[in-house]
Symmetry: none
Subunit: 237 residues, 2 copies
């Protein structure tokens, strides 16, 4: 997430107080921002500023949010640009139809700025993770995993893991923060053809935790669902 410091956010909102508020909170988080007060301005700023994310109000003068959204999706260089849409609950009855076409998340007004910040971050995390597919190394606080060398170190000291343990940890790291059911883990780490009891997963989680005490608190068990690796990596020691 530290690589996000130069992230630019375009805020498209005609009500000055709201724009101001969002601007303020995004700034606090270290995001750079620009504000457009109309659809037309938004389209201009998209070209000049090349933001990494757009917060887009649905109701706008001139060109409305739906239209802006469509244009963003239809232009090749912005087709994948993440969009968070702001909608008033009251609008829903009439206008929301067009929403299916492509916002990545929605926030209904009134919203808390904090919640919006959380959503922005969550969206970035999601996207980061999606692009993490080809990664060959991961880190989690003092833990580092290197796939090419098949090596895991904690504070620089190597930890020897078995194949299953390694695969399991790799999968957890790739999907940091997301809840993974035992079935998902069995299907991916063990293989789709594997038929065994889900308890197997528990035992291997246990073995991981024994070898790497760091993970004791980091791997969180969620009852009746599965496990997740905390997205807060523990501090370096």
């Amino acid at each position: 997430m530290s690589g996000r410091t130069l992230t630019k956010i375009l805020i498209v909102e005609d009500e000055p107080e709201i724009a101001q508020l969002v601007n303020l909170y995004m700034g606090k988080e270290g995001f750079r921002t620009s504000v457009a007060k109309s659809g037309g301005e938004a389209l201009k700023l998209l070209k000049s500023e090349r933001p990494d994310l757009v917060i887009l109000d649905l109701m706008l003068p001139e060109i409305d949010g739906i239209e802006v959204c469509k244009r963003i999706r239809n232009a090749p260089d912005t087709a994948l640009l993440p969009i968070i849409m702001l909608t008033a609950k009251a609008e829903e009855s009439d206008t929301i139809v067009g929403l299916e076409l492509g916002a990545d998340d929605y926030v209904t007004k009134p919203f808390s700025p904090k919640a919006l910040v959380a959503r922005v971050k969550a969206l970035f995390r999601r996207l980061d993770r999606e692009t993490s597919d080809q990664r060959l190394s991961f880190s989690f606080g003092p833990l580092a995993m290197d796939l090419s060398r098949h090596e895991v170190t904690v504070n620089g000291k190597e930890v020897s893991l078995t194949a299953k343990e390694f695969g399991l940890l790799e999968y957890l790291l790739r999907h940091q923060g997301r809840v993974l059911t035992r079935d998902v883990l069995l299907n991916t780490v063990w293989g789709y053809d594997y038929y065994g009891t889900t308890r197997t997963v528990d035992v291997h989680i246990r073995r991981l935790k024994l070898k790497i005490p760091l993970l004791n608190d980091a791997i969180i068990s969620i009852k009746s669902l599965g496990y997740k690796l905390s997205d807060q990596a523990p501090a370096l020691s």
Copy 2:
């Protein structure tokens, strides 16, 4: 929306001119219609015609609109049937305010047929979207829910919920503003095969409210009908 061409609408209205008028306009829109002139007839037609939406006058001979509404909601196979209620301005003051009834939308007489058509379409759109909604995160004022991380935060602070609590809250958020009977909740959150008392729902609602005080006012109990999550998200903090 083109899949709506075979949509059937039941019009429950004792005044012939109004019934006629509504009938005409709905027909123009390509909806199939049936008309009931009394509450009793409405209940009969509900069974034989299986409409996709009901336009229901509040004032009716025999069985009034409120009662018809209740019965629709309490019958398992019509519990989620969308209802638009027609109310006279005068009635508003006493009956409706406190009750909230179980309708999905209201139109006050006198109304323009075009406006009614617009409301019908809007309601269908809303419901279509609700059922096809694959969102993984929701917000409700300062509350944010993230399904993939199985995490609920209020003002950014995490709240730990059990599986049932989480599922219940998710369903409420997905159907914000709709009245949900205990049976509907049991069937969806607990599962179609679940057999237990409806009181279970009350207890879980209670537990949700304890963990998330925000919901104290937001989850509204409607006597002899069920619960609904307010469609106004609470103001930001």
